[in-house]
């Protein structure tokens, strides 16, 4: 052993040292270290699990966002198309109402024109009658002499007195 360069005493001491160290390590450090390592491993697993859960949640959230986005777009387009339809309906109603009002105005106008025409006709008739009678009156004024006036008056009185006698006879 000495030829190999090994010291037996040192070797034994080293082996005893190593055994002691091993024993002490096994007794006092191996377990806590193993616990620590397993804890670390557990924590690592936990983290990975959490990451997976988060990724899943993120995916779900993305999907939900996409869905709600689609839904919102669909609703918006529905609302827009409804609004367009309502606006068209309203426009048609307004046009119809305006047409009806215009027709009413035309009718009223026609009625007013007709009324005015009738009034004018009446006025013309009145004036014509007045004119005709005035002409006759003027003619008579020119034509009737004092003697014909007396004659006419006498005739009128006779006629009136005969009528009054007839009326009295009927009364009796």
């Amino acid at each position: 052993m000495e030829q190999l360069g090994l010291d037996s005493k040192l070797l034994v001491a080293q082996i005893v040292n190593f055994a002691l160290f091993f024993y002490l390590f096994k007794r006092f450090m191996a377990e806590p270290l193993a616990g620590f390592i397993s804890k670390q491993r557990r924590e690592e697993d936990e983290r990975e699990r959490l990451i997976a859960t988060l990724a899943e949640k993120e995916t779900k959230l993305e999907e939900k966002t996409r869905e709600s986005d689609l839904k919102m777009r669909r609703e918006v387009s529905e609302v827009l198309s409804k609004a367009r339809m309502e606006a068209e309906k309203l426009r048609q109603e307004i046009v119809l109402r305006a047409k009806r009002e215009a027709e009413d105005l035309v009718e009223k106008g026609k009625g007013a024109v007709e009324e005015e025409r009738e009034a004018m006709e009446k006025e013309l008739k009145k004036k014509f009658a007045r004119l005709a009678v005035s002409v006759v009156e003027e003619g008579l004024k020119e034509y009737i002499t004092p003697s014909s006036k007396k004659e006419l008056t006498g005739y009128i009185l006779k006629q009136a007195s005969q009528k009054s006698k007839f009326a009295k006879t009927h009364e009796n």
């Binding site: 008739k125 009145k126 014509f128 009658a129 007045r130 005709a132 009678v133 006759v136 009156e137 008579l140 004024k141 009737i144 004092p146 014909s148 006036k149 007396k150 006419l152 008056t153 006498g154 009128i156 009185l157 006779k158 009136a160 007195s161 009054s164 006698k165």
Partner: protein, 94 residues
């Protein structure tokens, strides 16, 4: 101005008499002064004219015929009335 009741009653009865006299009064409007024959015919038409004489007023506006007025009643026997009626008939025919 205060008026005593006796004067008031006198005025009242006087006005009443005047009003009754006016109501009974007969006025004949003619284009010329009427003669006896014409007055007789008027008495036939209106017997009240026999009881009291009537007033004859000239009206040159009357073409021919007469207008008799008693109180508020008027009997128009003139040609002017006939012409007026003719005017109304002409105007009212369609």
């Amino acid at each position: 101005m205060k008026i005593d009741s006796a004067t008031k009653n006198e005025i009242r009865s006087f006005l009443k008499q005047e009003f009754e006299r006016e109501a009974e009064k007969i006025i004949v409007f003619s284009p010329f002064y009427l003669e006896a024959e014409e007055k007789k015919l008027i008495q036939t038409i209106m017997p009240e004219a026999k009881k009291r004489p009537f007033e004859n007023i000239l009206d040159h506006g009357i073409l021919a015929g007469i207008i008799i007025k008693k109180g508020s009643r008027v009997l128009d026997l003139s040609i002017n009335a006939k012409l007026k009626k003719l005017e109304t008939d002409l105007y009212e025919t369609r």
